[in-house]
Every structure is written in structure tokens, then in C-alpha cells.
Symmetry: D2
Subunit: 316 residues, 4 copies
């Protein structure tokens, strides 16, 4: 079968990539800019979001079954150092009118773009102060947001989603904290699942790491298994709309190459304009062997923000 | 035609309702509780969200065209008195690693459940301190959220959406600030559009009022046209999943009956467990005469919250 | 010497008090209200703040030496559970004018009335929902502060301050975490120091506990040595303006009587209208044997607040 | 009398200064750095705070009368654009213990260093990115404060305070919004009051402008009368510890020289290391003709902050 042959062939290449990946350095601006979407582009792989792509996803809805892919936002959740999440109930002082109406609301103080299950926009990360498409972050940053590539410009994303169950491939509940997922792992898992990748997909990698969420938050944020430089580069070659995982940075952390600091953030967001989707809840999808589905994701339209907490859904 | 006949018949009843509506008072707890969804129910009309309902909606996706129904969250938006929205960019102090990674984020302080385009949960409103299903708000309120009916329990809502273009019916860009939409208006608009309502629908009423958003915020929040008691009661009899509009309270404000204070909030949320969806952007839908579509809505999973800012989408 | 005789006599009484204290229960409203300052009073022992009292304090200023009694407000400080302190620098986007002016500021999110070195007002604590002078807290609480006895009404406090060095009396650097300071301890320390108490004084009790501040915050907030019911009652009989200490609740925590929860808070603030001053830095005062001084304290005028973070000073 | 002669002599010089002031430009770094307090100095005129200076002030306390010089911090107060002040009551969920203790507190979100009656530190203002003593603000700014010259390093300030009643001199309740106080005004007011300035003084200029506070906030912040370049330079030659006024920037705003933007901020804070004290309440002092007093000021010890809201006191 052609697909399998391709997978095997790519696998061989992958090991070469893995070795090469250890020496990864960001390509210079001249090699990474303008992006393949054009010099003025602010959407990156979000450009895959077209009516045709929506139809491609909608056709996968056959039973109407939905899977909630987001964690609850609450005091039990892990937050990265320097971030917070505080909710204060504001109780009413009514009653108003003869209907004796009372009204409640709540004040939230949080890095709301970067807590919980979260979607990373392109202003979140830079290489040497240059964002995606080599926009200098100092030119577009203001006290109250970024004037370019704010997450409010992304809009709803609807696309075919694919789950790659690497934990299942390895026969474990949770991958070890220092496990770097290889290209071969991805290929073998896809082969086992009988699913291939297509341009414009949302690729979600299952590690099992989210089982620590809310149970051992210190462990959860101390590091995690995930894709590294080689696997990220391979995935991005498949031309996805976004990459997601059930860990906090999508990628392995810390990176095995000690000279690199979350390099996949730079490879995906900064070099290639591919969004990241973090802290997903993928257990039910994995359990149900729901490897292919319509993914719907509605980033908040937070003007000038670097990302958005989200509550995405898989539908099949 | 049967449908039209039904509409006309209902119209006659409606005028009776209109007159009666002026004297509306909340039904006593004994008449409104337990709700039709059961005494322990926390979902109300959200119970319409079933795989069958998702399929009903998905079948309406024919071209893949999407409409964004949310306003941008930013300093230009109107916020109700006592609410705030502040975003502060947190710029990085990098670089990290040989990849010279920089990271940006932002702190947001806001009644995030009740700003922008927003979805109302059942802890938002009470009658004489009783929430939906006669839960006493004092029994379930804590400093950091509500222990029952928090918006985190709603989950993604996917359903058939119907736009009722009342501004179009009346031949105006924007309905006058004190215009109470009648049952007859709804019936005539639906008839003109050739669309009927079904159980489980998301019913969105177009008034044109959102044209003032960000242009004249003082005017926008000073009042608005919308449905009143009679139209709300008629709509709720059609058994919808939710009611929405392109104004801030879905309903007319202030209510023509001066003794009542936002009574539709109590009729929908408190008495009937029907969610409200406020501050929608419906102009493009109205312009495109997109009266029937799949509506997708992903409330944030804010634990114990009264609502959620949202970025819903119409797809057809 | 008369004074010594009195001290010894009181000491004997004290041990009786200590035993009795274990069964302390709040006096009923009929016995504690109206307070000795009158039924409408909102100032309690703050009424000691008079020109004569200021002069009494000013006369103690002989060298101009000052002691700073406050901790720095920063991320290293301990905060009680459910409280936070976050500071975000807001950097300018200038330059403005030909003078190329830049301006910086910072956003702080905090329970600013109840963090760091802090002054407790009378709305901070209640017995069975009744505040000082038996004002029902539900009658005066609003979403944005209390309509009575807010800390903005206190004003600058200038009075004679007395340090009681109990750690020094016991010959230890830090009192043990479960040490309840007795009346005899206070009397003996005062006798050793050669200082007596006067009506209107600010009485500051030195335990050494603040040496854990910023060093072992978990230990610092896990409990502390301090005065208990008996010592608090004895001190309040001396008619002070306020009671302070270098621990977080002024009093021993948890109370040795397991049925009581921070009872000195109720004895001082709720029953007697005596302010508390927490998390003081008293080491330099103790080291310098500065037992008598002018104390100056400027609570912020936070409308309707329960207290204020402060930066008090001792001057001699 | 020698003092008067000096005042008159200085007055003549002053008019020259006034004319010259219109062309003011910041002196280059080589002329303004290091400051007269030394190249490593972070305290500026705060170095006047010595025991001898405290005694100088304490000797002015003769009756014990105090004047509160701060506004209440509340929703009625004016805040400059881009700043906020929000207080949310956090009510208890007690009761705790047999004493049925309840506890209340409040969350405040605010640029707490720069709201209400406020004290400006040296990181608040820069000339061409250089702070006081030519420290580059980019070298000392972090996301959570400044590593040098934070307001926590200032400590309590106690000094002789002098009120200069310019409104009284001019025979008006409130100076006109565009009135630039001249050197002659200051000299004549001092002469009329029979009070001279001394090195280390806190000089408070009364304009009457605070009568608009809370009454017409839009007017209050739209501009104000105050000292300009010439008067500021003259005052700083007298070697004060700080300059204050009952308006929002201490100085006239906008500056009559349209090319300059709040130049006195730069002259005082950046060039000379002289603190500013804004939004004072000076009416009672003026009314009581209390022109000389002990001023006590306790800036909060907010680590790395640009300033502090304060509640200063005058005592005589």
C-alpha cells in the first residue's frame, strides 16, 4: 500500500531528522520571512480555514457525538509561574422591580489568554524579538495589546481533527516525563489507527499527561513528554492548521537539547505560523478510538491578545 | 399551508398575551418548580443538546460559509455599570535558550462571564433569591463561584439556529429604542422568511441595535428595543434551547411596565431554564438572509460562574 | 515599689484568668453593645486619637531616630490562603513633548487591606454576623465596601507606643509556634523593661516570629505564638488604642482551645473596638531596647474597606 | 529683615527665569548626572530624612492638632485615563469556631501607586528613557517592578512642611485652570504669611483646585493651575525634600509652552531627584492659616513600584 510505504520511508528519514534536530537553531529572518502565506499575512496556517475546509470537517459528523476537550477553569488547575487565575463572586444587592430580580456576576483576574486549555496566537512567541513573519514585537506591542496579529483576528476554526494516540502505541497510560515523541512514533501510531494526515488538519497528540492535571499540579508543570524538534518539523511538513496535545506546551519540556528552550514554540508559531493548542483533554477521544473528527474551536476575540483560553469540541 | 395557518392562529392568541403581559408577575415557586426537566436538573433547555440535535444542525451545513457572531473584546466596547474590562500586556524579559525565545502574555481583569458577546447561565439571575429550579442562591454561592449550575456544566451547544429579522420586517436599519417586539412581529417575520421554529432551536432576534456598539456606547447601554414579556413567553412555548439578540439584555429595556425590571431575564433563565445570548453581531446574517443555520457556541468552563463571554458562529 | 506590687498582684490574678480563658465565649449582644464609646460610635479605641494624645506621643521624640515597622510588599511575602498580591509594571509608550518624557506605573491586584503589615478595621470581623457595636454586617455590606466603619474613617493614628519583648523575657530568638503568651509574661516583661502601660497606648508584642517572614512562608502562616484570650483581655483592660505583634494574627494560632477560632480577633475588634496591627517588623526596636516611642500609623483611606496595608513608624 | 531682602532679590531673578523657562529643555545627561547625592544614589532629596530633620519637624508640634491631607479612595474619585480603581467586597462564608467568627476582606485592582493622593517615586518618570541619576529604565524594569529606586526604598518621611497659599494671595477660592504660578507669587505669598523656606522642607502649594475633586472629575483632570518651569526651578533651588499641591500633577497642565509635556515632572523627579506629592487636600490647612507644621508621610513599601497612594498628615 502506497501510504504505508510512504510512512515507512518517512520513518527512515525521521531518524536522521531526530539526530539533526539536536543541533537545531532558528533559521535566519531571510530564510523564514516572508512566510509562505505572504509578507503581510497575519493568519499563518489559519488560512486553511475556508468554506471548503469547513465542509471537509462537517462531512465527518455522522452520529452527532461530541467530546469536550477543555479542562474546567478553576482554583484546582495548574498555572504556570507568573500567571494567576482568581474568580470573585459578586453577589447582588437587589431586589429590582416587582419581579424581585437579583443579579450575580463574578470578577476574574487572569492571564486569560494563557490559562487552562489554551490557544496560542502569533504574538505569544518571538525569536530574538521577531514574531511570525519577522514582525518586530517592539513595533506592535502596546500597554493594552498588540496592534498586529492579535488573537481577535483568528476567528472560529473548524477543520478535520486527527488524534495520534502515542500513549496507546506505547501501551502505557501516561508517557514518561522525559519521553520525546519521535517521527517514527507518529507514523506508527497513524498506521495502527489507519488514519492519514491531510493539509489543514488539526493534529492532536495524546500523551496521557493530562491525567496529572488537578491531581499533581507540581508534577504536571514540572515538565512533560511530547514532540520535539524532529517530530514538530515532520508534522509541520504535513501542512496542518494547528498542533495540539494534552500537556502544557504541546512539546517535550525541558527539551533534551539543553541549549534550546521550548523550541517547538518557535518552530510552530514563529517560523511557520502554525497555532498551538495546549492543555487539551483527550482521554475520552483516545478511549473511544475517535481518531478522526470535526474539530471546532472558538478563540475569544480578545483585542491584541497573545492567545485565548478555549473550550474546543470534537464532533463525529 | 398548515404552517402558515398555525402562525396566523398563534398570532391571534399573541395579542391576548400582549395585553396580559403588562401585569406579569413571577409565578410562585410552587408553580415554577420543579422545572419540566426535573427537580435536580441544572441544565434546563441545555438538555436539548443531544447527538440527534447535533445532527439536526450539521445537516444545515451546505456551503461551509461561516458567520462570526461576536464583538471584539476591547476598550472600545460598552460595558454595563459596575463592570470593567482591562487588558495589560505582559512583555517578556527573555531571551531564553539559544533559540532566543521571547514570550508575551496579558493580564485581563474583567467580569469575564458578563462582558462582550455573552452567554447567561442560571446563577446569573434570581427571583426573590431563588435561582432556576428554586435553588436558593445563598445556599450555593461562595466567594469563588456557585456550587451548582456553574457555567462550566453547560458544555458546547450545537443546534439549529434561526434568525428572526424584525428590523427587516419593519423596514428599518435599527428599531427605535423603545420598541417592544410583539408576538405578531415574530410570526410575521418568520412567515416572510419562510422559516418555522422547532423545539431545541437557538432563536436569534435581529433589531439592528448593535450598530450603536462602539459608536455610541452611552446610547447602546441606555436602553434598547427587544422582545418583552409576551414575545418571550410565546418564544419559550416553542421550546427553544436559547434566545439571543443583538442588544445587551435580549429584551426591551427598560420594560414598558415600569413595575418590572428586566422581566425576560427571569422568565427565560429563572422560570424556564432557557439561556440568553446577548450582544450578538447579526448584521451579516441579516444581510445574507441567512435565516437558518447551524449555531455553535462554546461557553468557557469557568467553574461556578454565572455566564461566559463567547465567540459563537453560524455555519451554513 | 507600688508599681511592682501591682504587677505581682496582677500576675496572681492572671493565672486565674488563663484558666478561665479556656472556656471563653463571646458575651451576648446585650452585654457588649452599645460599646463604651456610644451606640452610634464607629471609632472604638480610635477615639483615643486626640490632640492631647498626639502631644503625649510627640514628647517622646528626643533623638529623631525612626524605626520602620513594615515589611516590603512583594512576591516573596506570605499571604493567607485566598488572598493574592500581584504587581504588573506598566511601561510607557512615550516619549511625550520635546522633554521626551516617559511615564511608568504599575497595576496591583490584591486584597490590599489585608496583606503585608496590616491594620484591621472593624468591618473585618464579626460574631454571628454582628460587627463592633452590634452592627449587622449584612445591613452595611455592599459589593463595593461597607457603608459603616470603613477604614477610611480611621485617619492617622499618633500615640505612645510600647514594645513588650516577650521573646527577650524568655531568652529566645523566636517563641515556639504553640506558645501562648500569658498575662504574667506581659507583666514580667514590662517590669524588666521598666515601662508601664497607659490608656491610649499602642501595645506591640514582640515574639520573634517575623524572622520566618520571606524565609519560610509556609511555616510563618501555619500558626504562630502570641497572646491568647487571657492576655488579650488583660491588655484591653489597660485601655489601649491598638494591639500589634510581629505575627500574622496578633494572637496565638491556632488557639489552644480547639473550640475557638482566632478569638482575640473577636475580643479586640468586635467586642471592644480595639484595632489590631499585624505582621509588624519589630526586631530593630527590640534590639535597640526601644520600649517607648511615638507610633505613627497612616491607614489608607480606602472607602468602605475592612483594613489597610500600612507602613507604620516608631520615632524616639 | 534679611529674609525679606533675599526674597525680593530672588524675585527679580525670578522674572528672568520665567521668560527663560519658555524655552526649557532637559539638560543633557552629562550635566544632570551624577546627581548631587552621588552616582549610586537612589534617594535624591529623600536624603534630607535624617534624625536631625525629624527633630526639626517635631519641634513644630505644639498643640497636637492634625490635618488629614488625603482624599478618600473610592469610586467617586477622578482617575487619569488608563488607570482604574475597583474594590470588590469579599464576604465571609463563616461562622468559624464556637465564637461564630466571620471575616470580611476586599479585593482591589488599581494602579495603587498612582491613584488618589499619591507620592511619586523616581521610576515614575524618565527623560528619553533615563530615570533619575541617568539610570536607563530598560535596564531596571521587569514585569513585576523596577530593580532600582522602587518606592519601597523611600521609607517614612518626616519633615517641616510649609503651605504656600497662592489662591489666598490672589484672593480667589480657586485659581483659574490656566494660571501658571510665578516665582513672584511664591515669594509674595511667603512674605504675606511670614514664613521662609528651609532646606529639607516639604513645600505644599495651595491652588484651591481640589474643590473640583469628586464634584466635577472631568474638569479636575482636564487641566489645572500650578507651578511651571520657572517656579519649580526656584523652589528646587531652596533644596526641598518634596513638592506637593492640591492638583493632580503638582504643576500647571497643560504647560503653556506647547512643546513641553509636564516638564516639572522631569525637572523635579528626573533631573533633581525631588519627590512630588499630588492630589493633596489642603483646604483645612489654608483655612486655619497653618503655614508651618510637621509633615508625616508613609509611602507603602511596594517593591519596585513607581509611587504610592498615601494618607499624609500635617501636625502642629
Amino acid at each position: 500500500m502506497n501510504n504505508l510505504a510512504a510512512v515507512v520511508a518517512l520513518g527512515l528519514i525521521a531518524f536522521t531528522c531526530d539526530a539533526a534536530a539536536q543541533g537545531w537553531r532558528p533559521p535566519p529572518p531571510s530564510e523564514r520571512c516572508p512566510s509562505k502565506w505572504g509578507a503581510a499575512d497575519e493568519r499563518g496556517a489559519g488560512n486553511h480555514m475556508t468554506p471548503a475546509n469547513v465542509l471537509r470537517a462537517a462531512r465527518l459528523i455522522k452520529t452527532g457525538q461530541t467530546f469536550e476537550l477543555a479542562h474546567v477553569l478553576g482554583p484546582e488547575m495548574p498555572v504556570n509561574p507568573g500567571r494567576q487565575y482568581e474568580l470573585h463572586t459578586k453577589r447582588s444587592t437587589g431586589p429590582f422591580g416587582e419581579n424581585k430580580r437579583y443579579s450575580n456576576e463574578e470578577l476574574v483576574t487572569s492571564e486569560i489568554g494563557q490559562v487552562g486549555t489554551q490557544f496560542d496566537g502569533f504574538t505569544h512567541q518571538a525569536i530574538d524579538r521577531l514574531l511570525y513573519n519577522c514582525v518586530n514585537m517592539d513595533d506592535v506591542a502596546t500597554r493594552s495589546g498588540f496592534t498586529k496579529m492579535g488573537v481577535e483576528k483568528v476567528g472560529t476554526l473548524i477543520t478535520r481533527g486527527v488524534l495520534i494516540d502515542v500513549a496507546g502505541l506505547k501501551g502505557v497510560e501516561i508517557l514518561p516525563i522525559d519521553y520525546e515523541i519521535t517521527v517514527a512514533d507518529l507514523e506508527q501510531a497513524l498506521q495502527k489507527q489507519g488514519v492519514g494526515l491531510q493539509a489543514g488538519d488539526a493534529v492532536l497528540v495524546y500523551t496521557g499527561w493530562s491525567k496529572h492535571w488537578g491531581v499533581d499540579n507540581k508534577l504536571y508543570t514540572s515538565g512533560c513528554p511530547g514532540i520535539g524538534v524532529a517530530a514538530a518539523q515532520w508534522l509541520i511538513k504535513q501542512d496542518p492548521m494547528l498542533l495540539g496535545s494534552d500537556n502544557w506546551p504541546v512539546e517535550i519540556a525541558p527539551n533534551p537539547d539543553k541549549s534550546l528552550n521550548l523550541p517547538v514554540h518557535n518552530i510552530a508559531l514563529t517560523v511557520n505560523g502554525v497555532h498551538l493548542l495546549e492543555n487539551l483533554v483527550l482521554d475520552d477521544l483516545a478511549k473511544a478510538r475517535a481518531y478522526e473528527f470535526a474539530l471546532v474551536l472558538q478563540p475569544l476575540k480578545i483585542k491584541g491578545a497573545t492567545g485565548s483560553t478555549v473550550a474546543p469540541t470534537a464532533i463525529r
